[in-house]
Symmetry: C2
Subunit: 256 residues, 2 copies
């Protein structure tokens, strides 16, 4: 059965999509079977892998709202061991369309259950909000990976996110844990960045990954070619960091 992880943080632009895509890519490169679920209406994970979100026929929207089986939406990415359940702009409507539905928080968990056996890892990318899509993912997941940008404003929202996770644990998913905190866009010339890292490590010493992901221009360039950082520039500092992060993550999860 797959281990399911959600990338969550309501602060925008902290590296949720970048971490979801590249973690999934390196896990697949390590031979794990991986499904990336794009639960963000912006569909950035879908386009980062080279797909056109406006041409996607069956997306997570159909799976959640029309209860189509996940297998009908899942696409091979052309990369070994690596599939995608794509998003599309229609997903922005799911929130309102599911308001009246009694099992609205469990839709994703239900959709994933029949296919969980086909994968070792399911990675879920999320929008920058604590809305229904995020609660769906937290209800379906075993663990939450929290990317935090090494900036002051990114620190502000962490408490709110942790409180939301606690509510989900109590009301919807008792097995949910914080699987890891990833410090992203670390810039060693910026003395605030080091302070933010210290602050997060002080509060969450066990969760915070040792690997820091540096700010690296190549990471921002890769999605414009529809490539993962591993494909675009495997020797870049960004690629090396995501490779090390993935190894640290897999060791933690698989108890290696």
């Amino acid at each position: 059965r797959a281990r399911i992880f959600a990338l969550a943080n309501q602060k925008g632009g902290v590296g949720k999509t970048t971490t979801a895509v590249n973690l999934a890519a390196y896990l697949a490169a390590m031979g794990r079977r991986v499904l990336l679920v794009d639960a963000d209406p912006q569909a950035n994970a879908t386009s980062s892998l080279g797909f056109d979100k406006n041409e996607v026929e069956t997306s997570l929207y159909d799976v959640l709202v029309n209860e189509q089986p996940a297998t009908e939406a899942i696409l091979p990415t052309g990369r070994p061991e690596f599939d995608l359940l794509p998003s599309a702009p229609a997903l922005a409507g799911a929130e309102v369309e599911l308001v009246e539905v009694s099992d609205r928080e469990q839709r994703l968990a239900r959709a994933i259950a029949p296919i969980a056996g086909n994968y070792n890892y399911i990675i879920i990318d999320l929008p920058p909000s604590l809305s229904l899509l995020t609660v769906n993912a937290l209800t379906a997941a075993d663990g939450v990976i929290i990317p935090i940008q090494c900036e002051y404003l990114a620190l502000e929202g962490l408490m709110q996110l942790v409180n939301t996770i606690k509510l989900v644990v109590v009301n919807l998913n008792p097995r949910l844990k914080i699987s890891g905190i990833v410090m992203t866009m670390y810039d060693s010339r910026n003395n605030l960045a080091a302070q933010v890292v210290e602050e997060v490590k002080a509060h969450y010493p066990d969760e915070t990954f040792a690997t820091l992901v540096p700010r690296n221009v190549r990471i921002g360039e890769a999605p414009s070619y529809g490539q993962t950082i591993r494909e675009y520039d495997a020797n870049s500092r960004g690629a090396q960091a995501y490779k090390a992060l993935t190894e640290e993550f897999a060791a933690r999860v698989e108890g290696l």
Copy 2:
């Protein structure tokens, strides 16, 4: 009567809050009377000005959901000509609480109308989504200012945002215009950044401001001291850029 502008972009981390706070600060420094409305449950604009979002007594939540008068929530910021209508974490619940309410899109416009006469400018910061809070601001506003990060993924969502603005114009607010597009976090060493700027200028030549806001560490540091960039480091490249941007914006709006 105040001119009302909303900072909108559903892509996260593109500089909405940073632009809202610093544009408001420089407009006030130019002698304009300014109200900054924080319509983001993250309350980053509120904390960037030195307020503790968890200590705010009356926030935008009370104004929108409990229909308290805006005057009861508005706080002086201690800076001449510059007031704040603060946010608080409770605002995250406004979305769901207003679902059944018939005039839910007009709540902000109604709340602002009685106090618009006290200001020259009202600047509204928004969360990274196209949800009810954003639609409220677009319904109340004369214009939208769209910050765009000079990164590939930031370009992806522009069409969706423009389409949402068009829907608001047709259904809720015929006077709404795109008042300007601000290119933020421009890094001249990043060749993709220049391409993104060219692409945006090609599609929106009249809207795109000539002033580029560079990536500048001092901008990220200022909010951790509860200061605007003008207060924190007026001679920094970031401060100079926001000063120039504000002059360009005021000239455009006031027809100087």
